[in-house]
């Protein structure tokens, strides 16, 4: 299937010499939710801005819906909606007027019924006559989403949509993203929050220092790179590992009450049975045992640190 967005050898060097993107290649499938994870300055916003036409690429090309973003900018831009990172809204406009403006700007015939439904979906219908300056941060964020959706795009870019919003609103936003995906919109979101990617994305891309380190299915990524940890809580604290346990790769907590054993769950022999036996033979009493799955965050940190 032809990807809805195809990025080839995309690089960007700003006039001050900073290389924000280094030869990025990425295909985004129609209808998926792709989360781009990366620290500040990783190149996430630059990548989105190039696709949307706000920043010029230095080299490379981007195809949206089979059309080049430069040669066929009218077609590609009308397919794309962008929710920027900052709450950039005109203070004196009303919610209704700003949505009408956005729809018209993208060349769409006025459709009050569609905009009414959109505002209702965003729980903003009762605020349609309100001036933007009087809205809360969460409402402004929703207005920005409304503006991005006003021309009925098929690809939606959300640049850190939940940055600085409270937990409740974040969950609302995730639900909204899921609803949009169900309606057929392809969603590409950038985020700092690993839990966000873990909660809503189908695929995760990790970007750092302008390089796309990897893109993979979220579950496959966690399966491939995720390790498990066996945590053994001890009845009595110890200061050093007994000799019998030194052959195991164990971490002793600083207070001496916990042993952590990291293992690969895909291996046939994980070594758990032998370890528990060795602990008993070392005359250590076990208070509790539990396992922990490596989170996406730990995978991300590990990947970013490895590539440094």
């Amino acid at each position: 299937m032809q990807p809805i967005v195809s990025i080839s050898n995309l690089s960007k060097t700003y006039s001050n010499g900073f290389q924000a993107l280094k030869n990025v290649n990425l295909d985004i499938q129609s209808g998926e939710i792709l989360a781009l994870l990366g620290p500040n300055g990783a190149g996430k916003t630059t990548l989105i801005s190039i696709i949307c036409g706000i920043v010029n690429a230095s080299t490379g090309s981007v195809i949206v819906g089979g059309h080049d973003i430069i040669a066929d900018y009218r077609i590609t831009r009308s397919m794309i909606g962008l929710v920027p990172q900052e709450l950039t809204l005109g203070a004196f406009d009303t919610v209704w007027n700003t949505l009408c403006f956005s729809r018209g700007l993208f060349g769409k015939i006025p459709d009050p019924a569609f905009l009414e439904k959109l505002l209702k979906d965003l729980s903003l219908w009762d605020k349609k006559k309100s001036m933007l300056m009087f809205l809360s941060g969460g409402m402004k964020r929703r207005v920005l989403i409304g503006k991005a959706l006003a021309h009925e795009p098929v690809v939606l870019f959300l640049d850190e949509p939940t940055a600085g919003v409270d937990v409740e609103l974040r969950k609302d936003m995730w639900a909204l993203v899921q609803r949009l995906r169900e309606s057929g919109v392809t969603i590409i979101l950038t985020t700092h929050y690993i839990e966000e990617a873990e909660a809503i994305a189908d695929r995760v891309g990790i970007i750092n220092h302008g390089e796309l380190l990897l893109v993979d299915d979220k579950h496959a990524l966690m399966h491939k790179l995720g390790k498990r940890q066996l945590i053994v809580e001890l009845e009595k604290k110890i200061s050093d590992l007994p000799k019998a346990l030194t052959e195991w790769t164990l971490d002793l907590s600083s207070d001496g009450s916990r042993l952590t054993y990291t293992y690969d769950p895909l291996k046939i022999k994980t070594g758990i049975d032998g370890l528990l036996q060795a602990i008993r033979e070392a005359d250590l009493l076990i208070k509790d045992v539990h396992t922990k799955k490596t989170s996406l965050e730990e995978i991300f940190v590990s990947l970013v640190n490895t590539k440094k």
């Binding site: 949307c52 706000i54 077609i75 962008l82 950039t88 004196f92 700007l105 993208f106």
Partner: protein, 253 residues
């Protein structure tokens, strides 16, 4: 052509003027009326005629130009600078819209506002002095051409400016002195010969002269030259705007 985009930009800009009616229309008209009172009535009574025209009447084209130039620049520069300043320009930059459509929307709205102001000033002047327009079609033509040219110039300033100080810099330090020294209140024949020569380097002289000719059939320089210079200025502005958008100057990185 993305006519919906042109429409919404134009409507948005006109609405902004409507919502700030006092600032957009009343303020320039009141300022111009004060010029009529001070120069036309107080000082003008001591000057009988200039080139055969009563001084109060002689002032009308110059004062209209003064208001048109400053308002065209102010409207257009603010219109594009403010979205840049607030960051909302991202929407225009990411929309399926061409340079021409952006210009028609923003510059068209700024020029329309200036044109309306020009007509209001002309109507107001009728209350103070007897008015006779020798070539009304030419007068309207000059009016439209000036509104478009200087709105385009203001648009360039708005794109170029990175802060409010820079936004005011050229209008205050360059345009206003040029208009005042460009024969708004006098004929350049009234100046000493050396100053007459120096004044000819001021492009506003040609603008005011041509516009004044459409009223009284008297001009400091030939009408053809005035028209040619206005058209040349318009062309230069178009080339600069095209270059700014083509390179993304102060818009795209």
């Amino acid at each position: 052509m993305n006519t919906y985009a042109i429409r919404v930009i134009y409507k948005y800009e006109m609405l902004r003027a409507w919502e700030t009616l006092a600032q957009s229309f009343a303020s320039p008209v009141i300022s111009t009326v004060l010029y009529f009172v001070v120069f036309g009535s107080a000082i003008g009574t001591r000057i009988e005629t200039v080139e055969g025209v009563g001084y109060g009447t002689f002032l009308v084209p110059g004062l209209m130009m003064l208001a048109l130039l400053t308002q065209s620049i102010a409207n257009a520069s603010f219109g594009i600078f403010f979205p840049k300043f607030t960051g909302t320009i991202y929407e225009v930059m990411s929309a399926p819209i061409s340079i021409v459509e952006i210009l028609i929307g923003y510059v068209g709205a700024a020029a329309t506002k200036s044109f309306i102001i020009g007509l209001i000033i002309l109507g107001t002047a009728g209350f103070f002095v007897p008015l006779h327009i020798a070539h009304p079609v030419w007068m309207i033509g000059f009016l439209i051409l000036t509104c478009i040219s200087f709105s385009l110039f203001g648009f360039i300033i708005g794109l170029w400016a990175t802060d409010f100080e820079k936004l005011q810099l050229i209008p205050m330090l360059v345009i206003t002195p040029m208009v005042f020294l460009g024969g708004s209140f006098y004929s350049i024949d009234m100046l000493p010969p050396a100053w007459q020569t120096a004044t000819l380097f001021n492009p506003v002289v040609y603008l005011i002269s041509g516009f004044r000719w459409s009223f009284f059939e008297v001009a400091d320089v030939s009408v053809e030259l005035s028209l040619a210079l206005v058209l040349a200025f318009l062309s230069i502005c178009l080339v600069i705007v095209w270059w700014m958008f083509k390179t993304g100057y102060r818009l795209k990185q």
